[in-house]
Symmetry: C2
Subunit: 252 residues, 2 copies
Amino acid sequence: MISAVILGAGNVATHLYKAFEITDKVSVVQWYNRELSKVINFKNDVDVTDDVSKLKPADIYIISVTDDAIANLSRQLPFKNRLVVHTSGTVNIHDLDKKNRRGVFYPLQTLSKSVLIDFKTVPVCLETLEKEDYKLLKKIGNAISNHVKKVNSDQRAALHLGAVFVNNFTNQLYRLAHEITESTGAEFDMLKPLILETAHKVQEHSPFRSQTGPALRGDTSTIKAHLKLLQNQRHKAIYEMLTQSIINTHGS
Amino acid sequence: MISAVILGAGNVATHLYKAFEITDKVSVVQWYNRELSKVINFKNDVDVTDDVSKLKPADIYIISVTDDAIANLSRQLPFKNRLVVHTSGTVNIHDLDKKNRRGVFYPLQTLSKSVLIDFKTVPVCLETLEKEDYKLLKKIGNAISNHVKKVNSDQRAALHLGAVFVNNFTNQLYRLAHEITESTGAEFDMLKPLILETAHKVQEHSPFRSQTGPALRGDTSTIKAHLKLLQNQRHKAIYEMLTQSIINTHGS
């Protein structure tokens, strides 16, 4: 059984704790958080602490705190030569204090505390500096996810950036569609099956092959009608820019 | 049993034909297309024709051709006072020739011939000029879909425009993420669970409440890092515009 200590109590830390709870391959021996109140509810199931000097021995220490706080917390650890990983999409592996063996365990998914998720479906990006550490990290990853990949820091940064496009920006397009439809009394709900189908289609076909619509067809009369309909200048600018982007990708 | 004639053989026409095939409430008595070759494969199941003068009597004629061709085909129909509807998201109901009773039957989904779809899940937007016609149209809609709604022309135009945002533009964001990840050798596939989760989340929560990420958090250091990473100026401009859009929606 691999022993782990989790440091931090945010969304990722909480989902990791729950994922480790249901595997018999990893045991969380301690949960550290700067504010004890955030982990105190779990004290019957796991040792909790807010004191880095009381950290227990373990095979791996998983730092899952805000990006800005990772380097500092790694420096505060009162031991050396142990495996310490962070869970961030953007922080470099070398930002961890070099007194310990370093790694990254980055789950590529939007994780809210209130939303249950099957961690088996979450891709996990792994990186270590030492081969031996990678073996251990891979065992931990495979214990909770079916999609574990070796990903270097450049690739991880690109995936994190891609995630902003397919998650944050896509969600903002949903928001704009919400504003556009509700301004006429139409129901945004009517777009929900289309939202799902769009996401499902790209699971099987490339986004290039999946594209449809007026920009792809060069249907300028529909594009003109849409631009006329858009009263909000910011919506209009986004429509124009993404229409042009589709034309750039597919030719006009 | 309601009798229907379908005019056109594009994606929507084909999906409608298949949906009507599996209900006992509507019978397609004839399938018209300008080019007979496109419907000839169905001649053992339904009467096919390329001659408007040979159209059979029916309770409803469903014109499912390109937007530009709808008005003209409606003028060519050699009868009057029958119910004639089109299936377009953008064409006005009054563009149909007024010699017949007019309506709209607009399925709000991305329909490709090669992709099977459960029509029961497709929202259908209905519009008629006469109350009696609405009753019939609603019966037809309910026979094949669980999501039938009365939608006026302004609302339908807004839904069609919203569909471009949540379908075409969202798919283009997937494409950009594809370009960004593959440029580093990272796998776009690793973003697919996130794409699905993003679409699923908005089924239950509003896009406003679903938003996360650096723009929402005002995390300027991550935004700066992302902009530095984006070599392609067009990608950069889209990143900046959608980041600003999120800030406009949620405050900075």
